[in-house]
Each structure stands twice: as structure tokens, then as C-alpha cells.
Symmetry: C2
Subunit: 415 residues, 2 copies
């Protein structure tokens, strides 16, 4: 007997028929002798409907009141799922985050979980009940409802699994796992049986949005094994088969790692690059350029400062394309003050990254990446590296070509 | 400066535009220097939508889980109203019942309020905020959400007004007050400026469903002045005019009472009458007949036991028409056991009542009522009286005629 947390996304909860499917799947796991905690999202479209109502009232609704409203979608889901389990003869009870309680800070609409008191949940599990807990939300120290932000139900599920020392957290979603790259770009893309948390973080933050990054961080910090798998399969498929499907996100590099050096190719099409030319090279230049950008709430990704020539340097960084115009405006505003010659930019660039923990123990990944791109005639605009990732910025029009070439060069189509 | 509770029904909260109207009305009262607590219902249709989802899952959903779902409609309303107040520059904060806390028993879907802790609310009011509290719900001793049943937001508003010793509880609804009878039946029906709680109880329970009966009981017990008034007027109408509109439900008979002996004519079309004939008349006969009816969860209204003749009696009672067949079945089942001759019934009867506290000090109301009906050729099937009400059961086809004749006979069209 194991304690297992199931998380179901909005699509899986999208209608009362789908909720009945979820109930069948949960009951199957419970019948096999496991203790099951379920964390469902709001029915698909519901959170948007609620936020839409708020926007009809106010362009900038108060975050506390927005959380009051947005949190109701999950509350409806947990009640309906409990009923669906009752209808097939399973004992089940639902809780809102505040009832558990899941304690958060007071950063409404983007709160962070501080603690989970699992006494009530554990008593119900021991009494043979399935326990269903609202995702996406908790309660702050003053008794206010606080939500974790979009996608927060993943984080709720992982946090509950961590607090309760669950043996696995199963994230049921509308994809059947994590792929070596986006199958819409490379038809040979292959589902990974395992990835490490670090790889998953890089894959997620680089655009393979299967899981909310924060939930992956949480899982990594608390060593919760997380499996991403499909909720679109037959709910009554054999449990052993289901338990082995999807992609396991593991913290045990050695035992679970597949042989490949590289796990996947991530990419982000919507990048933009800004260069400030002829900046006097003196201490504090990076701060004087990036400080105002950060103050404008613009997130900067890759950063390069050129080798200084005759006391002048060029400084280049990337932002997401949606913030390009705003960022250009900030730099034009400070250009004279810092004595720069001019500001130029390019909003048609994309980022492609190879990701894999195998890189740590293998040399030559970078050179193979660069050679592959060179052979395809793709010019590299910027390079950024981390322990388990190499990213390059390239002209947007070559993005698909680069991803396909790298996928093939690193043999990712082969298991 | 007074503390005033406003309650808005689902129609008043039916769209974001209507919610903005409510905010304007509330702001007007607040601007006049009053402390305002608002208790809004769910947006019209929302509670039915939520219960509909539950019914798609289960024919007999678990009451606790039903409350988990049904309570979310009001939570959305309070958040939206807070935002609408912010948007016009008013400080406002919303609370769910459990946050106040409004403590209830654990009778899910029909819970009763046990206590209200108003410390948080009072602090907010003193800080100049409008406080908005979910109607229809509270939290039981185990931290479960419990709803008060349909129409429960009226009860919430009155209970909050009582707990906080508010000077008045204004119930904004889609009618502009309590009438001498249904204007759809008698075009001369007139709005009452005041009624007493007892009259209101009789008028409400007899079919003039302006307010939930329980809220009227509550108001009477705790001596909270309640005013029923329209939310369909211009929200910016002069406050003095609005404060004097609608119908005041008062506990001060003498000071507020209008001159008339009778306040109104109530009626209930959908009645049914059942008679069990030739019952051996011995102690316990009423219990042996009505016990099984109560066990079948059928509510009995009027009851008559005939004068016994040769040790046999006839026993007649009324039920609501929807339960007629079920009640007949129950009696057929026990007929032989109690030695009765036969069971007969009539499902085409209606009840008409004259209501008024003036009856207490005036004789002749009953005789005037019976004479009026007699002059119209209407046969009385059953009679039931209380201190402030006389009800008669008549053939359904005479109901409108009886109501019109009585309305005229008691001069109710005259102020």
C-alpha cells in the first residue's frame, strides 16, 4: 500500500462526464489498495470565466478579491469529484485549501505555500476515504484566500505529496509525457521515460510547458517523484500499464537516467535582442543598464558584454518579444546618461537549447551543437551555457531547421 | 451615523452592470455617513447552474459536497461587488461565511446559524470600509461549509443585522414591497407601508414569498427592523426617499400599525385534501394516521377530526398537491390496520387566508369572511384559525373570486 497523489488538469475535469472518468481512474487506484489524495484543477474555461467577470468590473481588480473569486473554480471541482466517487461506491471527502489547512503567504494571485497541516487528511485516508483537495489555493495568516497563480494546481499537488511523503505524485494532463522536443516541430520526437528535475526545469522554462516550473522546483527540493501522464487514456486500463506510462521526473540521476547525453531540445520562438553600443567601460556599467530594465519589470534572459576596445564596450541582452518595445524605450531613455553611442535591436530571433544532465560528464556537446548549426548554415547570434544546458540565439526563420538538425545530431529519435 | 445591513438578491446581482448599480447604491448610503454591511446572493442562475452540475453527477448528491459547490456562487458575488466599490473609490472588503465566522450546525443544505463573531467586521467598519459577506452559508464546528438552504441569504442578512445590532436590515429585491394580496390576482392590491413580523410570517408561509420565512422568524426573535424594497429603482435616487420606500416589517405593533384590521389576503392554489372515513374513534387515532404520513416526510397543513358518530369518525387533512398521490398511498397502506372504511381525496382545492394582527382586538372578522364567501356562492370545505389568521379551504376554481371578494370586503384597496 502506498500513498499516491493524483493531479488532474482543467481539460481532464472539463465536463461532468470527464469527471466521472476521473472518478473511475481514482477508484481503480484505490481498489488496488493505495491511499489516494486527488488535486483537481477548475473545469476548463472556468478560471477564465471568473477572471473575465472581474475584468468587466475593473481593469485592475484588487488581488485579494480576485483570489476570492478565482478560487471558487477548484472548489466546485472537488465537490463534483467527491460526488462522482460516491456515485460509484467510494467514500470520498473534499476540502478547500483553507480547510486542510494549506498555509500561504499573502502575495495574492501569486502566493507561495508555507506549510501544510495534513492531520485531517491523514485521518480520512486511514478511514479508507479518498481525499480531494482544491489545487491552486491556500489561506494566509489572516484567514484570506490566496491563490498560487496560473498552473498553481501542479504546485499544490507536489506540495501536498511532499508534506505527506507520498511515494509518487501523478500529474494527469492532456499530453502523455515529456518529449525530446515538440512533436509538432520534429515528427520523430520521442517520449522520455524519465528526466531529472534539473532537466525538466530547463525544458519547462524553455518552453516545453508540461508542468509549471515552480512545481518542478518544489518536487526537486523535496525529492518528490513526479510522473506526467495522460488523462485521455481509458480510465480502466490495467493499473500496472498506467503506472509505467508517461514520463517520470526523478531525482535519482544514476538509476533512472537513460543512456543519452542529451535529453531534449527546447526552444522559444518569441525572443528579442537589444544591443547598446559604445558604452564607456567602467565599473557598474551592467548595473546602470540593467537596473532601469528591471525597474520597468522586464525580465532579461541572455546577457553578453563584449570585450572592451579603447575603453568602450557593447552590451547585449535578450527579452521576450512582447517586452521588446518597452525595453527599447527604457534604454533610449538612459542612453545619454551613461554615455552610450546608440541602441539597436532585433525582434525576430529565437532561442534553441540542448538540455541534459549527461553533459556534466561528457565533453564535446557544445562543439557538436555548433558544428551541426554551422553545417546547416545557421549563424549563432549569442551563446549561453549552464551545467546541463547550452542555448543559442539564432534568426527566427531558422528555428525549426535548427531544432530538427539538433534532434537528429544527438540521436534523440532513438530510444 | 447608523449601522445598516443591505441584502441584494440574485436578480439585483444578475450581471456585472447590475453589480455596478448595487455598488453605486451602497456608496450613496456610505457617503451619507452610515456604516454598511452588504450581503449579496449569487448571480441569478448561478446556484441553479451549480446544482445542475451536481445532478449530472449524481441523483442524490452528498449534502456536504453539495454545499461545497453551491456556496461558491455567493463567494464570486462578494468579490465582484468589492471590486465594483473599489472602482468607484470606496474601500471595501469581502468575506466568506467561514471567514467572519458565521457558525452553523452541520445540517448541510439546511443549516441553522448558531453564532456570528463580528470582531473582524466591526474593525473594518470602524476603519471606514464597506464590508461584504457571503449570504446563504456559514461554517460548522468541524470547519465544513454549510448552506442555509434556498433563500438563505435573507436569513444571513437578518442574522448579521441581529448580531451587530444594526438599526435596519434593507432587503433589496425585485418587488417594491409587501402587498395586500398578489397584484396579478387583484389589480387593486396595495403596497403596505408596514406589517408586523407575525403578519409577514403568515403572509410568507401562505404563499406571498417575498422573504424566506426563516429570516422573518429570525428578525422577529431578535427584533431587527427589516425593510423590503426594490433594487430596480435608480441607484442614485435621493436617500431619504429610498429609506422610506418599500414595506417595513416591524415589531412595534402599536406605533407602526396601520388602521386596518386585516393586512392582507394570502392564498395557496396547490393544495390537496385527503379524508379517511369510518375510523374507529379511540385514543391515538390521530397519531396512528398522521405518524406514517410524517414518517414519509409529507408535511400536513390543516387537520379536522369530525364529531364521532356510533364510535366511528372521519379524519381529514391537507397536504401540498405535489404530495397528494404519495399521501394517498400511505393511507391506503394503513387503512386496514386501523380499521377504517375507506380513503377519499380531492386534489383540486385551494387555501385562502385573511391575515392581520388587528384581528386580536376585533371581533367579527371570521363572520365577515364567511358571509363574503357565502354571498359569492363559495362553499367552505375546511376552516383553520390562528390568533392573526383565518384560513379556508375551497374549490380551486373559486380561488381568484374569493381573493378578490375578500380584498374588497375588508377595504384593502384603501390606504
Amino acid at each position: 500500500m502506498a500513498l499516491i497523489v493524483h493531479k488532474y488538469g482543467g481539460t481532464s475535469m472539463g465536463s461532468t462526464d470527464r469527471i466521472k472518468n476521473v472518478a473511475q481512474r481514482v477508484a481503480k487506484w484505490h481498489d488496488a489498495g493505495h491511499q489516494i489524495v486527488v488535486v483537481p484543477s477548475a473545469m476548463s474555461g472556468e478560471t477564465n470565466r471568473l477572471i473575465g467577470l472581474a475584468r468587466q468590473i475593473s481593469d485592475s481588480p484588487d488581488p485579494r478579491e480576485l483570489d476570492m473569486i478565482a478560487s471558487t473554480g477548484e472548489q466546485v471541482s472537488v465537490g463534483l469529484l467527491a460526488m462522482a466517487l460516491h456515485a460509484i461506491g467510494k467514500e470520498a471527502v473534499s476540502y478547500a485549501g483553507w480547510q486542510v489547512a494549506i498555509k500561504t503567504d499573502s502575495a495574492f494571485t501569486k502566493a507561495r505555500i508555507q506549510s501544510i497541516d495534513d492531520a485531517k487528511v491523514r485521518a480520512d485516508l486511514d478511514a479508507g476515504k479518498v481525499v480531494i483537495i482544491t489545487g491552486f489555493q491556500g489561506v494566509d495568516g489572516f484567514g484570506n484566500i490566496a491563490t498560487l497563480g496560473r498552473g498553481g494546481s501542479d504546485t499544490s499537488a507536489v506540495a501536498i505529496a511532499a508534506a505527506m511523503k507520498a511515494s509518487e505524485c501523478l500529474i494527469y494532463t492532456d499530453v502523455d509525457g515529456v518529449y525530446t522536443t515538440d512533436p509538432r516541430v520534429v515528427s520523430e520526437a520521442r517520449r522520455l521515460k524519465t528526466v531529472t528535475f534539473e532537466e525538466m526545469l530547463e525544458l519547462a522554462s524553455l518552453g516545453s510547458k508540461v508542468l509549471q516550473s515552480r512545481s518542478v522546483e518544489f518536487a526537486g527540493n523535496y525529492r518528490v517523484p513526479v510522473r506526467v501522464l495522460s488523462s485521455l487514456t481509458d480510465p480502466l486500463m490495467p493499473l500496472e500499464e498506467e503506472a509505467d506510462s508517461g514520463t517520470l521526473i526523478s531525482f535519482e540521476e544514476d538509476s533512472h537516467m537513460e543512456q543519452a547525453v542529451i535529453s531534449g531540445i527546447a526552444f522559444n520562438r518569441d525572443e528579442a535582442k537589444i544591443t547598446i553600443l559604445g558604452v564607456p567601460d567602467k565599473p557598474g556599467v551592467a548595473y546602470h543598464i540593467l537596473g532601469p530594465v528591471a525597474d520597468a519589470n522586464i525580465e532579461v534572459d541572455m546577457i553578453i558584454q563584449n570585450q572592451s576596445v579603447e575603453g568602450k564596450t557593447d552590451f547585449t541582452f535578450t527579452v521576450s518579444r512582447g517586452e521588446y518595445t518597452k525595453a527599447l524605450g527604457v534604454l533610449e531613455g538612459i542612453k545619454d546618461e551613461i554615455g552610450a553611442a546608440s541602441v539597436i535591436g532585433d525582434a525576430k530571433v529565437s532561442k534553441v537549447s540542448v538540455v541534459g544532465v549527461g553533459m556534466r560528464s561528457h565533453v564535446g556537446v557544445a562543439s557538436q551543437m555548433f558544428r551541426t548549426l554551422s553545417e546547416e548554415g545557421i549563424n549563432i547570434l549569442m551563446i549561453s551555457t549552464s551545467e546541463i544546458k547550452i542555448s543559442v540565439l539564432i534568426d527566427e526563420k531558422y528555428m525549426e531547421l535548427a531544432v530538427r538538425a539538433l534532434h537528429k545530431a544527438f540521436d534523440l529519435e532513438k530510444a
